[in-house]
């Protein structure tokens, strides 16, 4: 499979703040590729370097095999949707969408045809004569998307385009964006700090932290096989539970002990046990793999109940069926699905493999 974008060894500093630290990315052609990370991780900077809006201090950017490191944004043939939409305030929606085609001096008839096509695709025909100041956030977002879609660029870059929308609109637009992606089959590079968004939309996710890529993989890979503790706790809601322990024949922590299901770690090394809230159960079948604790709080969410439990000096969250009925202070026992637990080295924070 060819790569639409390859970024190699990109480093970028702003003053004495390192935004990107020797970053490598390989984005396959036609993929919906998500850059996920907290604010300040460098996702937007990466996007801007790829777009040509920022010059990296070192490293190269290749677009479909061609070295584009020195090329201007216009030469790179990329389309971008900004977080603030960046619609030209004095131009109508139609003029905004037509802008990229006018820049390329296409004949008027063709421009009109393309604008019409995009307007129908995004159901914004009635907005065409309006100016940005007369549109809602959701409408502006569609026009911004239209401006990107009117061309046939090498790739679409999106910088947190849904962040400024309210929840309901955001969920709607998510579905629509994936639908558009599927029907176009083009490469989408999408930046977000919302891990639910990443999980639901992506073919591949690159998790970024402090300017470095922590892990790249499909959403399922990132979720089921996180490469380190940071990725493990960043993806998944509620957050993965972490309990410090030492590993010998067993996994031993403060106030609990579990059999070692095959992790290869030598001696009494300090480690972190990671277990997701859905891999714990209050319905204890196997007494040998269970944790004892006290109920701290009970949160009924309708389709599930989250039970916060204190174990030793830590607090974990257990996902229980909606009918669970517990009192705070009550003693509980939770069984652990040993096939699905993770172990992280306490110093390096990397995931420890099973033998």
């Amino acid at each position: 499979m060819t790569s639409a974008v390859v970024a190699s060894g990109i480093s970028k500093a702003f003053g004495d703040v390192t935004a990107l630290d020797d970053l490598d990315l390989d984005i396959p052609e036609g993929a919906f590729f998500v850059l996920l990370g907290p604010s300040g991780a460098g996702k937007t900077t990466t996007l801007r370097v790829i777009a040509g809006l920022e010059k990296p201090d070192s490293g190269t950017v290749h677009l479909t095999g061609i070295d584009a490191t020195g090329a201007s944004p216009a030469e790179r043939d990329l389309a971008m949707v900004f977080q603030s939409y960046a619609l030209y305030p004095k131009q109508t929606a139609a003029a905004n969408i037509a802008s990229p085609l006018r820049a390329r001096k296409l004949p008027k008839a063709e421009i009109d045809a393309q604008v019409q096509r995009v307007a129908e695709l995004l159901h914004i025909e009635k907005l065409m004569e309006r100016k940005p100041s007369q549109m809602s956030g959701g409408e502006m977002q569609r026009v911004a998307l239209g401006r990107a879609l009117v061309r046939n660029p090498r790739a679409f870059l999106m910088d947190e385009p849904l962040t400024n929308l309210d929840l309901k609109l955001r969920v709607e637009m998510r579905t629509e964006l994936t639908r558009i992606h599927r029907s176009l089959g083009r490469t989408f590079l999408y930046v977000t700090n919302d891990q639910v968004e990443a999980m639901s939309m992506a073919d591949y996710v690159a998790v970024l932290r402090a300017g470095r890529v922590q892990q790249v993989g499909s959403p399922t890979e990132i979720y089921d096989r996180p490469a380190n503790r940071w990725v493990a706790t960043f993806v998944g809601s509620p957050r993965m539970n972490l309990l410090p322990c030492t590993v010998n024949g067993r996994l031993d922590g403060t106030g609990w002990s579990l059999p070692n299901p095959g992790f290869g770690l030598e001696g009494d090394r300090p480690a972190l046990l990671g277990v997701r809230s859905e891999d714990l159960s209050l319905d204890v079948r196997d007494e040998s793999a269970a944790l004892d604790g006290t109920v701290y709080a009970v949160e009924p969410l309708g389709d599930r109940t989250l039970v916060d439990v204190e174990i030793g000096d830590r607090r974990i969250v257990i996902k229980a069926p909606p009918t669970a009925s517990l009192e705070i202070g009550q003693h509980v026992r939770a069984s652990v699905d040993l096939d699905r637990i993770h172990l992280f080295d306490a110093d390096t924070e990397s995931a420890i493999a099973r033998r």
């Binding site: 777009a51 040509g52 809006l53 201007s72 944004p73 216009a74 990329l78 389309a79 971008m80 900004f82 603030s84 960046a86 619609l87 030209y88 305030p89 004095k90 802008s99 990229p100 820049a103 390329r104 401006r147």
Partner: protein, 301 residues
Amino acid sequence: MATHIQPSGIAAEGIAGETARPPVRRRRRIGSAFEIALLALLAVVMLFPVLWMLETAIKDTRDIYAVPAKVFNFGPTLEHLKDVFSPDSPVFSGFQNSVIVATASTIIATVLGVPAAWAYSRFPIPAKKDQLFFILSTRFMPPVVVVIPVFLMFRDLALLDTLQGLILVYAAFNLPFTIWMMKGFIDELPAEYEEAAMLDGYSRFEAFWRVTMPLLIPGIAATAVFALIFSWNEFVFSIFLITDPESRTAPAAIAGLIGGTTINWGLVAASAMVFALPVLLFAFLVRKHLVAGVTLGAVRR
């Protein structure tokens, strides 16, 4: 580290028991009679010279010298105003020259200043803050300080008594101010518009011209007006660098009316009135931006 600590206004509402002050909005106090009287007195004192000058401009020469002074009981005349614009008027050429000099220097300052301001706003220029401060510092000193060096330079360059020379000086003085004000306006416009245009396929300049320029028109207008006002009112350089009566600007020409055995006060007043009008008009047009100009740089965006 979070920085969301709201000002204590809300906390002082008394709900946490901190104060006993009720959360009632205060109504504006209607000024006391004493305050009104004081303000009225001040207004009269401030405006009286202006009023007197206005009256002098439209009084017969006899009435101007009348004792006791005639405040309201005189017949107005347009004699002096006509004199200002008559072909052999000593001040008419002054007005013409002022118009030429003010307009030209403003255009130069704007054409050079706007792109410079844009560059300062958009690009990471080394020692930018120092450069900008240096640029602004030219306004810290009164023009009088550099008048003599400029005079000597102009003498060597044969620019004395020329309008071109004066235009150059005014442009040089207006340029830093233009850069400073325009940078403020450009900073307010997100760079994303230009970036979007570049990704659309426009070059950097095209992006600036098509997207940013239309939005800057009000800012440019305000800045240009300030430059115009400065050039129009400027007196020191005009007096020092131009002695030829034909090349003089209006302030120098009007000042020239005072001196000699008899002074045509009516003409002086009428000239001054005509001179002040454009400035008042322009100042009124940019009144909203006057505050922006004064506080620029003091408040971070």
